[in-house]
Amino acid sequence: MNAPLRRAGVVVLVLFGLIFANLNWVQVYRADDYRTHEFNRRVMVAEYETPRGVIEAGGKALAQNKETGDELKYLRVYPEGKMYAPVLGYKPVGLGATGIEASENDFLSGASDKLFADRLSNMFTGDNAGGGNVVLSVNPKAQEAAWKQMNNNQRNVSRGAAVAIDPSTGAIQAMVSMPSFDPNPLVDHDMEAAQKAYKALDADEDDPLINRAVGATLPPGSVFKVIVAASALQNGYKTSTEIEAGSVYREGGATIRNSEDEVCPGSQVTLKEALTESCNTGFSRLGVALGADKVKESAKAFGFEDEALKVGDLDSGTGLTVAASRTGAIANPDGTTDTAALAQSSLGQRDVRMTPLQGAMIAATVANGGRQMRPYLVQKLLGPDRRTIYTAEPDELREPISSGVADDLRDMMVSVVENGTGKRAKIDGFTVGGKTGTAQNAEGANPHGWFIGFAFDDSGKAVSAICVMLENVPGGHASAEAARIAGLIMKAAAGRGGD
């Protein structure tokens, strides 16, 4: 009987060997997966063990914490609710964050290398002060003005976005997306309630969860004429150069008309006048005269086709992902230029698509003498003890135009607001320039209204550059309301009160 008994002993040995091998698989090979697995509540509990850093702007807390006394010790609270939600995003329980909450997650949670010293001292003192604080570049006055003006717009438009940038630094002064969402229910510790709130928002046809300022790409309409004008100025045209205009222009299969009969009916008009009045026939002919390559090249120089731009933290390069603006192919299937498409594209129609942020960056570039600054949202990073760890150092992104061309464009854009289509953007005490856009989109739908612009104060300093976009504006003159709102936001950004 001993031989089979020995064999039974060997069987047990083998079975235990299998258990041991499997334990190695679970506890060593798969350990990292399991440790950070989404089903692992330890990750979650640890995350809420210390207070997450505060996100603030202009001395105002935008995302902070409330002690709960539960297993998850801190509840994330967004005191300003909808106003900042598209920028801040939200940090839900057990899931990934969005917005700045996501891009600055390491710093806010305390895991960032920048907080290494804090973690080290925590190890010795035994207490954990939590994550670092993020100070945004947003100017609360400008943000409030933008939020209020957008939501109380006089045309009852429900969707749109506004972005204001400091032209000389690239700091975002205001960023509003409409409609927005209340992030507080989404971070509820009751995960089912949070999930329900998310599903309701996700099902909303107006897409409140999208930050339209960086995420919506829409036809820019006549705003794109600034790009075509820049291309012309770079190719030997002057502001006073007479270009061909007229009431109708037929090119390929496309027929270009002006928005109203009194706009540039004559056969010749100066470049400056063409922009001031937003002369469609003039810019279509100009675009065709310049050629598709030159127009596309200029657009690209201003930031079109950039798929890598993030607006957030200049140091780490993380931030909100900015959708790429596009000029479209403007080509026939055989590769030659589709002149009909080019004529329409020169007016920001056809396949041209732009984000509101890109619009603001074009205006900012003009206001900043041709140098485009990299836009950013994170002004400062503070340690848990509020000592400054990092301050944004403005960074030139690209220089699409020379300062001479920038000066000419500035002149022309100021003329738009002084004498042309953008009069409603005027603010007392500032020199305002800009360009309006009314963009046809779908058959039978109301056009989008755009305004990009900038404001200089008495001393000649560019205080703000802006883009306001309203989707499907009813009642004609779609861009007029955008221009009015843009003026008020810039006024607030310049420190001259809300409304």
Partner: protein, 500 residues
């Protein structure tokens, strides 16, 4: 064990120690040394728990370890007098696992008290305290077994009674209504109010004794009469009767008690004793084919018919893909398994340290999943040590079987040791995702009186047999005293006598 007191012709006035002839090593002092070492580990475990839970080690931290230490010391003294030649490793190894179990359960109580801002439970309160009390009861039972059964062969006299008792114990939960017998989907219990027992735990020992007796008597016919097929000797059809009976019984357990682990346990134990008794590999082949065939058919039936087979089918599905969201979120799905795996993974190589993890997140961490909870805190290194302890216990039991001279003792020791090993495999394989999860207790670790008492009885039986095995052949044991006679009963005979 319900064996009546055996008239033990012990020389009462001279004392037990006189049985030991000079020059023979009993190794009792080695046992004592190992036991003290084991209790030191338990004490260090308790102190570490306090350091992590309270940020200080209080002067009272050693008390639970000291208490279990005293209990094991008591059993050690009983062993010293009633089974002086018993294997010296068994008791300390089991004591260490048992002590860690008590310490870990107390650690869970402390964590819960802290979380709920309640006063710290007393030494005998909470799950840990109850486990301590169960340990005391188990050790008393083990001591009684050692005191009453001075020769393991006596058990064979009651083999048929034990067999009947075993089958009844197995069947009771199956025939009881679910409200009384079902816990977490498996019908393995008898519950009265807050008190519940798992009769199957005790059935193991009764059934092993019965199988051993039956097989010693039938081994000739089972091993010799055979037909050769494909180079393997297969038994005659009519001899298959008992095997098929036990197979059906275990499948009934699988279906009606909804527990694969228990079914595997009973059937495995029977097949192995059968194989050891007959030395015929064909029995193993028949057994494995029957069992896995039965399991596969049950799986297919669960998929198509459902009904009583559905539970097993669900378990298998969950096992195949525990992390799939649907399995994870389903009631009775993979939530426990996944949380156990995540706990083990979080522990990694070295673990978070006793008291520093979050085993409270694992469901059933006091019972079925205690190994996963422990794994988070002591890591792969600690778990491997515990695994080696189990292996040591099993192999020492097997060794007692190898060394003991009578067939009955061989089969009982081999069967019990193998059953213990199989049970450890079934539960640990289940919680680590190696095999489908079934609700088994982890011997000596899990909270629960039935399991602890039954397994300590098993250890007492192994101690008893190992004592007989290591006793000098010329020894002055009461049964061997006097002139050598031929064994009066076949099952009392030495193997070598029977085997031609």
């Amino acid at each position: 064990m319900t064996a009546p007191a055996v008239p033990a012709p012990t020389p009462a006035n001279t004392g037990e120690m006189s049985r030991i002839p000079t020059g023979w090593k009993t190794r009792r002092n080695a046992e004592l040394g190992l036991l003290i070492f084991a209790m030191l580990i338990v004490a260090v475990f308790g102190a570490t728990v306090e350091a992590n839970q309270f940020d200080e080690i209080r002067m009272t931290s050693w008390i639970p370890a000291a208490l279990v230490g005293i209990l094991f010391l008591g059993l050690h003294i009983v062993v010293r007098y009633t089974a002086p030649f018993a294997d010296p490793v068994l008791l300390p190894a089991v004591a260490l696992i048992n002590g860690i179990g008590v310490g870990f359960l107390r650690r869970l109580d402390l964590a819960r008290a802290i979380a709920q801002k309640q006063p710290e439970p007393g030494i005998f309160a909470g799950t840990g305290g109850r486990q301590l009390a169960w340990t005391l009861a188990s050790l008393i039972l083990a001591a009684v077994l050692l005191l009453v059964i001075r020769d393991h062969k006596i058990v064979s006299r009651y083999a048929y009674t034990l067999g009947l008792v075993g089958i009844v114990l197995v069947m009771i939960p199956a025939v009881l209504p679910s409200s009384i017998s079902e816990v977490n989907g498996a019908k393995l219990w008898i519950r009265f109010g807050s008190f519940s027992i798992q009769p199957g735990e005790f059935a193991k020992i009764a059934l092993v004794s019965f199988f051993a007796y039956y097989l010693v008597r039938k081994r000739e016919v089972l091993s010799l009469a055979s037909r050769r097929f494909l180079g393997v000797d297969f038994p005659r059809g009519r001899d298959l009767g008992p095997v098929v009976t036990v197979w059906l019984l275990s499948l009934l357990v699988l279906v009606f008690e909804k527990d694969l682990g228990t079914a595997l346990l009973y059937f495995g134990l029977f097949v192995v004793t059968l194989y050891v008794a007959t030395e015929r590999a064909s029995w193993l082949i028949i057994g494995l084919v029957l069992f896995f065939g039965g399991v596969y058919v049950a799986y297919l039936l669960g998929a198509s018919v459902g009904g009583p087979f559905a539970n097993f089918y669900d378990r298998a599905e969950v096992w195949l893909d525990p992390f799939e969201l649907e399995n994870y979120e389903r009631v009775g799905g993979s939530y426990q398994l996944v949380q156990g795996l995540l706990g083990l993974g979080t522990g990694g190589l070295f673990g978070s340290g006793p008291g520093a993890g979050s085993p409270g997140l694992v469901p059933e961490v006091r019972t079925d999943f205690i190994f996963a909870g422990l794994g988070e805190e002591i890591g792969l290194f600690g778990l491997s040590a515990i695994l080696v302890l189990y292996l040591l216990i099993v192999e020492r039991g097997m060794r007692a079987g190898l060394a003991v001279r009578d067939s009955f003792g061989k089969l009982v020791a081999g069967g019990l040791a193998f059953t213990l090993g199989l049970q450890v495999f079934v539960i640990l394989g289940g919680i680590t995702g190696l095999i489908p999860l079934t609700g088994q207790t982890t011997p000596f670790l899990s909270a629960g009186g039935s399991s602890l008492m039954a397994n300590w009885l098993l250890i007492a039986m192994l101690l008893r047999i190992s004592d007989a095995a290591r006793q000098p052949a010329t020894g002055a044991g009461p049964e061997r005293a006097g002139p050598k006679k031929a064994p009066t009963q076949l099952h009392g005979a030495m193997t070598e006598v029977i085997k031609p």
